[in-house]
């Protein structure tokens, strides 16, 4: 029996604990189910889904960097239809909240995807990826365009009554401006952060190591930046935040919660230690017991400034 109440709310979304697995780092759950008991974690965020299947970028898609990695997968995914037909049935075997992450090249595509997926009862919430740095088509770079983010929020909200989370780009001057427009347009929460734009060159061939030239930086290297973004939103906009970026262990989770996160997502760490989520849950519980935190949600935004 748990002595600590690990449950949290992210706006209207209730989770048994704050540990979600981040989009693009857990596939559609099947491989991870060999490592951890999916019934124990707070939730799964799917790989970004688009209306049609996407092939993604040619290799090389991955480069390691100091305490981090660059990726330019290019949103390779099975598309909404195959997802519903082939991936959902597997996920339904588990009692784990499913957050569907959607990426699109046009506002219409976001709406269309959401409309189709909102019918599926086993989906608990949507996370809208307006911030993928690795796709070029579509023209608009939504993540850096505040009015586009507002429009997407409002229009997607209009076609679903499931909790709506917008995943924000860190590659902007003030992320809180984006959180504000999400809040104003009826979004229920924001996820922060997606990856930072980065690159890397082979000094012998003088070519970019990544086919797509730039990629998204993730992993422990970005943790201080992610924390500062969460803090910025927390200090300026009253909207629930799901903290993401370089979380490797339970200490990092506490740090993100203190800075203002209601829940968090594990990304890159899943590649290195697929059991991280379970280990972290244990660590959180022990911390809460030791420091007499009765409900873990008390930690959210509990930082003390001078």
């Amino acid at each position: 029996m748990n002595k600590v109440d690990l449950s949290v709310s992210v706006g209207p979304l209730k989770l048994r604990n704050p540990i979600l697995l981040a989009s693009g780092t857990v596939g559609y759950g099947n491989e991870m189910s060999e490592h951890i008991d999916l019934n124990k974690i707070g939730g799964i965020v799917t790989k970004s889904l688009s209306l049609k299947p996407r092939k993604g970028n040619p290799p090389q898609r991955i480069v390691e960097t100091p305490a981090g990695m660059l990726n330019a997968i290019g949103l390779a995914n099975v598309g909404v239809e195959v997802f519903l037909k082939e991936k959902i049935p597997f996920l339904k075997k588990f009692d784990v909240p499913l957050i569907c992450n959607i990426a699109a090249s046009t506002i219409e595509e976001y709406i269309e995807c959401t409309k189709i997926l909102t019918e599926e009862r086993s989906i608990s919430a949507f996370e809208i990826n307006v911030s993928c740095p690795n796709v070029k088509e579509g023209g608009l770079q939504f993540g850096n365009d505040i009015s586009a983010v507002g429009k997407i929020t409002a229009k997607v909200k209009a076609v679903t009554n499931k909790p709506l989370i917008i995943k924000l780009s860190p590659n902007v001057s003030y992320i809180s401006d984006f959180a504000k427009v999400v809040k104003d347009e009826g979004g229920d929460a924001v996820s922060a952060i997606n990856t930072l734009v980065g690159t890397s060159f082979n000094i012998f061939t003088r070519r970019p190591k990544i086919y797509n030239v730039t990629g998204g930086l993730s992993g422990p290297a970005i943790k201080p930046v992610a924390l500062a973004k969460v803090l910025e939103i927390n200090q300026r906009v009253p909207i629930p935040v799901i903290g993401i970026g370089g979380i490797m262990n339970w200490q990092d989770v506490i740090e993100f919660m203190i800075a203002g996160s209601s829940a968090i997502q594990l990304g890159t760490v899943n590649f290195i230690n697929p059991k991280a989520s379970e280990e972290i849950l244990k660590g959180l519980e022990e911390y809460c017991i030791k420091y007499n935190v009765k409900k873990i949600s008390e930690l959210t935004g509990s930082l003390k400034l001078k």
């Binding site: 991870m32 060999e34 092939k55 290799p59 480069v63 997968i73 899943n270 697929p274």
Partner: protein
């Protein structure tokens, strides 16, 4: 597929910057097949951050072997592991070679470190009563790895050992050896070599499986980091880690 903390039993320096690591893991030893691989965390720290993929090189009893050369930080750390230290291994991963099917002679074609998966494959081929011919190539003498090979033919780009030329040239020279029997080729090595080999096999209508490589993050299918173009379906990449690393040469664009 599991993560295991496995103790190093021995670090063997084969010379020329090539190392064998002998690791105790009854669990992996009894499950892994030739051509499958392991994703190894070389350090508990974030340096390096990602696991490093290595083919299983051999299995004896409860022990598994990996073979590598020191390239960057990861392999440098591995080369310094000593007896008793544990390493965190994820595996067995991917699909190995198919070698129980109906052929008589297995033709191994290895370029440089591409020799790594073959000691184990050869052991299993012998158990399956197959004949073995090994074609081993390298840039120069010191790159030629014959460890665990049988019935060996050698080539080097610079002619310092064996035939001067590529290992596919070498194979071509000895094509008569492949003519009279049901043969199947098993290969691993640099992409340029695999490309030449593919052409050779298609031309001569030879069965061939190749072990491919790609930069990887997870090694088990969740990151989509390791695409390889399929010859059959251009709408979708295959994944080296999950659908490979061993492919029938006809199934992938190299």
């Amino acid at each position: 597929m599991l993560t295991t903390e496995a103790p190093v039993a021995k670090t063997i320096e084969l010379g020329n910057n090539i190392y064998l690591l002998k690791i105790l893991s009854p669990n992996i030893a009894s499950n892994i097949k030739p051509g499958q691989f392991l994703n190894v965390r070389v350090s508990e720290t974030y340096y390096p951050l990602l696991r490093r993929p290595f083919s299983v090189c051999d299995v004896t009893g409860d022990h598994i072997f990996i073979m590598f050369n020191v390239l960057g930080e990861g392999t440098k750390i591995l080369a310094h592991k000593h007896k008793g230290q544990t390493i965190d291994i994820l595996g067995p991963l991917g699909n190995g070679f198919t070698y129980a099917d109906d052929f008589e002679t297995a033709v191994i074609v290895a370029g440089g470190l591409g020799a790594a998966p073959f000691p184990y494959l050869i052991r299993e081929l012998k158990r399956n009563k197959k004949n073995i011919i090994s074609f081993v190539g390298g840039k120069t003498e010191s790159d030629v790895i014959t460890y665990g090979m049988e019935n060996i033919f050698i080539s080097t780009d610079d002619g310092s050992l064996g035939l001067k030329g590529t290992v596919v040239n070498l194979l071509n020279r000895n094509i008569n050896l492949l003519k009279n029997e049901k043969v199947k080729i098993f290969s691993c090595g640099p992409n340029a070599m695999l490309r030449a080999l593919k052409e050779f096999c298609l031309k001569n209508n030879l069965e061939c499986e190749v072990s491919t490589e790609c930069a990887m993050a997870c090694g088990f299918g969740i990151c989509q980091g390791c695409p390889i173009e399929s010859t059959h379906n251009h709408e979708k990449y295959l994944l080296v880690c999950k659908d490979g690393p061993v492919f029938n040469v006809k199934d992938v664009e190299i």
